[in-house]
Amino acid sequence: MNCHQANELIHSYLDEDLTEHEQSELKQHLCQCVDCRTHFHGLRQVIVFLQSASHVYAPENFTEKVMAQLPKDTMLQVWKKRLHRHPLLVAASLFILLMAGSSYSLWADDKQFLLTTPGPEHLQINSDKNIVIVPVNQTVAGDIVIRNGDIKVEGTVEGNVVAIDGHIYLASTGHITGEKEEISQAVEWVWYNLKQTVMNLTY
């Protein structure tokens, strides 16, 4: 075996790609040849060196940032998904939507800022900008529903937060124990009301 052949075998050895026979041949050559031995040790060192690299971890809030960038579902997708999860509910709400145009007109006329909460004393309400803030270190026990406005949660809400035609901003200090849902379509509003009705009936 010459040194060139030995070098080929060294690499195959490092890739765990050698038969036992080839291994013993290589061993023999390495015992006799200082150059190849040195070369072999050098390559091994490269591997150990690379493997010593410290692991780097994804920065904080990485997942939240990804989720914020995902395309919002189109209405059709939303309905498809819901049909999958709650076939009866969707069928029923579509039925109501088709039968009663009244819910829609109710929706269309109703543009004023509206807030439902069990603990208004815990909230900062800015009715000029239509924004409600749950301040840091404040806890609201129960559901908050806001319409035609935004809500910023810096403290804790022990319940659901629903924004109809508005946004929910969850600060890094904020926490919502229940569901967090933004509703921006008349159809969804019907669906949401229906869900509430059914939930009230079942629980």
Partner: protein, 187 residues
């Protein structure tokens, strides 16, 4: 046996909103690490890692479950990194052109040493800095393979699947990569 990834992908396709963030949690460190090593820069690594997951979400319908999910996501990430490295090279080139003759300032050196972000500073001076320097010395096609093999511990078969290259090509590049690093590091 059904893997965690397969279960999560089924749930995502069914419209379960909680499933995708679980998948992100499962892979974020691996993908960020690869991007960080490929690019040598925390900010770009975060952007590319974010983009990787957005592409995964958008292309989930095209994912072939006959292949491992990990190799698929590694492919998306390394391709994005290589694209960025290519763009970066082009922009350095065009800057060179426009700044030619600018009072003897060595723009090449400036461009090669951009301001370090807080995380880069933290890692600078660690032994790690040496590893990154060595990795940076490789061209992208060797860089991705060496990272996947020795930092992410993928097998040659997995790398071949991830990069859609024949295993013989992977072996040749690993051999050359090792030789190049040995020379660079004086080992």
């Amino acid at each position: 046996m059904v893997s965690i990834e397969e279960k999560l992908i089924k749930r995502i396709k069914k419209g379960d909103r909680d499933a995708f963030p679980e998948l992100v949690e499962l892979y974020k460190d691996k993908i960020y690490h690869v991007a960080y090593r490929m690019l040598g820069n925390a900010q770009e690594a975060e952007d590319i890692a974010q983009e990787t997951f957005i592409r995964v979400y958008a292309n989930l319908e095209n994912y072939d479950p006959n292949y491992k999910f990990s190799t698929w996501i590694y492919r998306i990430a390394t391709n994005l990194c290589i694209d960025l490295l290519r763009k970066r090279k082009q922009s350095v080139y065009s800057l060179d052109k426009t700044m030619e003759g600018a009072e003897g300032v060595d723009w090449h050196d400036r461009l090669a040493d951009p301001d370090l972000g807080p995380e880069d500073k933290l890692l600078e001076g660690e032994f790690h800095g040496q590893v990154q320097k060595a990795i940076d010395s490789l061209s992208p096609k060797y860089r991705s393979i060496m990272i996947l093999r020795y930092l992410e511990d993928l097998s040659l078969n997995e790398i071949s699947e991830a990069l859609k290259l024949p295993i013989t090509t992977i072996k040749t590049r690993i051999h050359r990569g090792r030789e190049a690093l040995k020379k660079k590091l004086n080992f």
